[in-house]
């Protein structure tokens, strides 16, 4: 069996979850801290967009941003000698873009369900804002954030449409597991396809178990 799709997917999903995790939490905290309702709604809409767009359309927009003929793409090419489109890095960009809304929404929900009185009480007790963020907000939002992280990881792993658009399906370079399944079936190699499918199913199953345990952690607090 050709292991390269599995390795590529692991690298891609591994890096993208780290990026998505921090970006999602930061974005959620920013939006939750906003006072003006209108700004909140607009920002929320933009950040949630990749969730509702078809992946190929999202991928189209990514190509529009990072393609070699586009300003941003040219910028990276000239100053960093990096061609973004159809490189391995593009698989990470695609995975991050598509999994980000899930992380953001989960983190935002987790922050919002923390009782506001807790934050206010912490203030009257003399706790500084940073301390409050870590010890009150994050500490109580952890179960929601963890399950958001697992969801985002699974989404990043399974990303196909946007990856196809901006990273292409280059064997050994950008062919992730989902793309490999597609290619093998298209080529008629059902055996190889079954193997890749089995790997994906096992990972998906483990993700669901992890999510449920994170949710149970939330309930245990009583």
């Amino acid at each position: 069996m050709d292991w390269s799709p599995i390795l590529i997917s692991m690298k891609t999903a591994g890096l993208s979850i780290v990026v998505t995790f921090f970006l999602g939490i930061l974005a959620a905290w920013l939006v939750v801290s906003l006072k003006r309702e209108a700004l909140k709604m607009v920002l929320d809409g933009i950040l949630t967009l990749p969730l509702v767009l078809p992946p190929t359309v999202a991928g189209f927009f990514l190509l529009y941003l990072f393609g070699v003929k586009r300003p941003l793409g040219q910028f990276f090419l000239e100053y960093f000698s990096v061609k973004i489109a159809f490189s391995w890095g593009a698989t990470v960009i695609a995975a991050v873009t598509m999994s980000f809304p899930l992380m953001y929404r989960s983190a935002r929900g987790a922050f919002e369900q923390v009782d506001e009185n807790l934050v206010q009480a912490a203030r009257t007790l003399g706790m500084g804002e940073w301390t409050i963020f870590w010890k009150i907000l994050m500490a109580n939002a952890v179960p929601g954030i963890v399950s958001g992280g697992v969801l985002a990881f699974a989404r990043g792993l399974g990303e196909f449409g946007a990856t196809a658009m901006i990273a292409g399906n280059i064997a050994g370079k950008t062919r992730t597991l989902p793309m490999a399944v597609y290619s093998e079936v298209a080529a008629g190699n059902m055996d190889s396809a079954y193997q890749y499918v089995a790997v994906i199913v096992v990972i998906a199953f483990l993700s669901v178990i992890a999510m449920n345990r994170a949710a149970a952690g939330n309930a245990r607090r009583g």
Partner: protein, 382 residues
Amino acid sequence: MFLKRKYQSRESLSGTGSRDNLLGEGKLSLRVDIKKQLRQFLLQVQLEAGRGCLGILGPSGCGKSMTLKTIAGIQHPDSGQVVLGRRVLYDSARRIDVRPQKRRVGYLFQNYALFPNMTVEQNIRAGLQYGAKIRGDYGTRMAELVERFRLEGLEKQYPGRLSGGQQQRAALARIFACGPDVLLLDEPFSAMDSFLRERLRLELEQLLDGYDGVSVLVTHDRDEAYQLCDHLLLMDEGKVLAAGTTRDVFGDPGSVQAARLTGCKNISRIRRLGPCRVCALDWNGLELATGREVGQEITAVGIRAHDFVPLGEGEALERRAQGADNLIPVTSPSIAEMPFEWYVTLENGIWWKKEKDIHTHDSTGVVPSWLYVDPSAILLLR
């Protein structure tokens, strides 16, 4: 946190030297004079509190919790001043707005706001560490607080496992760990059933007696306010209706709204008949003699349901012969049985309450022929 601060957050002296407040308590006092536009009404409150407990009594949504929150600094008024002792906590004219962290205010939330991710011990330690700024060994102080608030054995428990009373004690322990200058209690018993309430009220009463600072208690429960607070403020729709010692406020509420808030059920509009005589328009034109002179601003009278004296036919005639006034004939009464009282409603709308015990069910003989009310018991209301 990213938004620019409009006001400075440093503290400053009030600059007026050490003047005694109206209550004559000396240095430690709380002065509040704020305005804040809320959705339903304009909140406008002025209060002064010295040592002891000031109660704010009013219906839900009248702005009492908001007032407390502006004192604590977790909500911001539109304009005004909040001064604690010689420290100016908020002053819109001088653009001062001290952060809640620095105000040294203890706030007991309605749901206690214990941190669910920390044990009781850790919650209290947060108060010691961030409030009292104790570094190093918390041991002795922690033990003192645990003993004082009867939390032995509960230190390692999470708040979700505690009963309502235990949670309240833990929250109070956390507040006292900080050593605040003023204690703000936001409806401390509304999250409890009445059975528990009675007992915990006694405990709180003892706690407040032993507390050396200013305390402000907000409630919609009359009995609570009466029992726990030496001074009282009546509020409705964002405005202060009456202020003074609790006994004075209950004894002479001053206005119709205030009378209602203190539990007076019998209120009638009046027409003035003479310096001490009125005609109660809502009670079928009943004429009453009042104990004090009825000024021009008086538009109504109130009589508390318990203030009527039942009289038999004979007694009533005797009194009438002696020239007594305020004899009310009991016509077509309706009677309702309550666990510990009879509620008697007269035809003209007056309510009367007579005590009974739980075993009495027979209402014969309860309703008298006449009711008498002493002129001095009639409340004159604006």
